[in-house]
Amino acid sequence: MDILGLYHYWVFAVLLMTGFYAIVAKPNLIKKLIGLSLFQSAVFLCYITFGKLAGGTAPIVGKGAELFSSPLPQVLILTAIVVSISTTALGLALVLRIKEAYGSIEEDEIQEQDAP
């Protein structure tokens, strides 16, 4: 039964590495930012997965429920999501400035223009 439980972590590993591949291999700057936000959302999945309690419900003290999943990973991920969107927003602003300065957002074309 716990092999099924580990499936979440394998999806986390695959997601982490798909994002990391996009960052490493794709020269387009916006595709790198997309890879970066995938890379970060994989980490969110990992945190929330080990916060889950079998038979527990969301940590909002309702009428009936007593068994709660752990609230701490959810708090950490609330913070991490906003960090991820802030980094993406700043990255996109940089991409716009780079497009205006270099006329292109492909990393290899930018390096050609920079090389003396």
């Binding site: 982490l16 990391f20 960052i23 700057l29 790198k32 970066l36 890379f39 970060q40 980490v43 990992c46 945190y47 080990f50 701490l72 990973p73 950490l76 913070t79 991490a80 960090v83 802030s86 980094t87 700043l90 990255g91 940089l94 991409v95 400035r97 780079i98 300065a101 270099y102 930018i110 390096q111 920079d114």
Partner: protein, 503 residues
């Protein structure tokens, strides 16, 4: 009345000034508010350092909650020394850099720049005082985002592509760190560093813990620009505004190294069997390679700021070398070098900011004859250069001396390390001499011949404050070279606490 709250005020003062600075539209007001906040933070750091001298540590419970449940701040000797470096570098760079920044930044966007400066300061200081793993991640993000803004401020378009590379590598590093503390949190159930150290015993040799140690080390190595992962540093520091480089070069990478050492020595080292060997085994070759490659490339570099950036990579290699000796004297040398390197490198970059006010660019041939036009500034530049090399009588010499004595304790390996240190010091002499030689004896560089540089010999742009600040830093280099009381003592007790009783 405020004494018990000092660790908190250290973070709150720049934190609450930053949003305030954004509203200050009139010219120069934003700079004044930022400098005032930075000086207040510097004063608090000095008081903290003095109150922590006798192996004492200050703790502070944010929100009044007990340690593992709420977030706790902890200032020990190592943290206090780093606080001095951060706030000192920020205050000196701000005081000296007003004119240089006014020329680099469009006037309407100055308040944003100084707000980002205070936010970077808040981030670095937040990391230095925090004792909670996730809190360090949040403030690492604050300082990274703010330093991207600071670096992208310059008129040079190459700063934009350099900052984008820094953003990608910095965020990947921070996310690796996040994965690492996620795995550690999963196995130990806590985020507080002290509590984590206590609970790691039971799960020391499980697979997730070893992978977590790997992730944390790689993530922080990326942020601290340790040898193979330093690719973002030279361009980011070279094309940023000069004053930004003076601030970031003195403290940005050291903060990440501080977190790496605290994690490794306080948590992973004691409990993970063989981790001491792993730490030394993997990081020492990287440190040696970093020293050799950094100094080597610096010798042949044409651009003054890239030259100094590569020498920064080499100096980080020294610190890592001291730490990877895994002995009290080794750590003592590494921590002391953090302080001395901040003094030397900060002074050099401030001098470059002074030169750039008068010269048309900062390639070696463009600073010809600067020794005659600005003798005082050049003299301070030479003093800081000597401290970088480690000439006896300067601060740099002390840290090299302790590094050599620490290396000698390791016998044959020690001899090899000492040779590496001497070789790289010779390389340092070479590239400092190249700078001095082109500044003094090269023919007077008249700007008309060089097409793309704009002649701007307007002395009005030359801030009156910059030479005095430069000389304060140069004299500090000499003072801490001779009567090195406070940082020496702090570094020694920091090394003892980190190693926790090891011989």
């Amino acid at each position: 009345m405020l004494a018990p709250h000092l660790p908190m005020l250290q973070v709150v003062v720049p934190l609450l000034m930053a949003p305030f600075v954004v509203l200050l539209r009139p010219r120069g007001l934003a700079w004044a508010a930022a400098t005032m906040a930075s000086l207040m933070a510097f004063a608090i750091a000095i008081v903290l350092a003095l109150s922590v001298v006798g192996d004492a540590t200050l703790t502070y419970r944010v929100g009044g909650w007990m340690a593992p449940y709420g977030i706790e701040l902890r200032v020990d000797a190592f943290g206090a020394l780093l606080l001095l470096v951060i706030t000192g570098a920020s205050s000196m760079a701000l005081l000296g850099g007003q004119r240089s920044l006014e020329r680099a930044l469009p006037p309407t966007r100055e308040p944003y720049y100084f707000s980002a400066w205070l936010l970077a300061l808040t981030g670095f200081v937040g990391i230095a005082v925090s004792a909670d793993a996730f809190n360090i991640f949040v403030f690492m993000e604050v300082s990274s985002l703010a330093s991207y803004v600071l670096i992208a401020g310059g008129p040079d378009r190459r700063a934009l592509s350099a900052v984008f590379k820094y953003l990608i590598m910095g965020t990947v590093g921070a996310t690796f760190y996040l994965v690492g503390i996620g795995l550690v949190y999963m196995m130990t159930g806590t985020l507080n560093l002290a509590d984590m150290a206590g609970r790691i015993e039971a799960v020391a040799d499980t697979r997730p813990m070893i992978v977590a140690a790997g992730f944390i080390t790689v993530g922080l190595a990326l942020k601290a620009a340790i040898f193979p992962l330093h690719i973002w540093l030279p361009n980011a520091y070279a094309y940023a505004p000069h004053v930004t480089t003076a601030f970031l070069a003195a403290c940005a990478t050291k903060v990440a190294l501080y977190v790496l050492l605290r994690f490794d020595f306080l948590i992973l080292q004691q409990h993970l069997s063989g981790h001491a060997f792993q730490f030394a085994g993997y990081l020492m070759p990287l440190a040696v390679l970093g020293i050799l490659v950094g100094s080597g490339v610096a010798m042949f570099e044409r651009d003054l700021k890239r030259l100094l950036a590569f020498s920064s990579v080499a100096q980080i290699g020294y610190m890592l070398l001291g730490a990877s000796l895994v002995s009290v004297s080794g750590l003592h040398a590494a921590i002391l070098h953090m302080f001395n390197h901040a003094l030397a490198k900060g002074g050099l970059f401030l001098a470059v900011a002074a030169f750039a006010a008068v010269t048309s660019g900062w390639r070696l041939e463009q600073i010809g004859g600067i020794a005659r036009t600005m003798p005082w500034t050049f003299a301070a530049f030479v003093v800081c250069g000597l401290s970088l090399i480690g000439v006896p009588g300067t601060a740099g010499f002390l840290s090299k001396w302790y590094l050599v004595t620490a290396a000698l304790e390791h016998g044959a390996l020690g001899i090899a390390l000492v040779c590496v240190i001497l070789l790289s010091s010779l390389m340092a002499v070479a590239y400092v001499w190249r700078m001095v030689e082109s500044a003094c004896f090269a023919p007077d560089f008249d700007a008309e011949t060089d097409a793309d540089s704009t002649p701007n010999r307007d002395f009005a742009a030359f801030s009156h404050l910059l030479p005095t600040i430069l000389w304060i830093v140069a004299l500090a280099n000499l003072y801490f070279g001779l009567a090195n009381a406070l940082p020496l003592e702090l570094a020694k007790s920091a090394a003892r606490t980190l190693l926790g009783g090891l011989p």
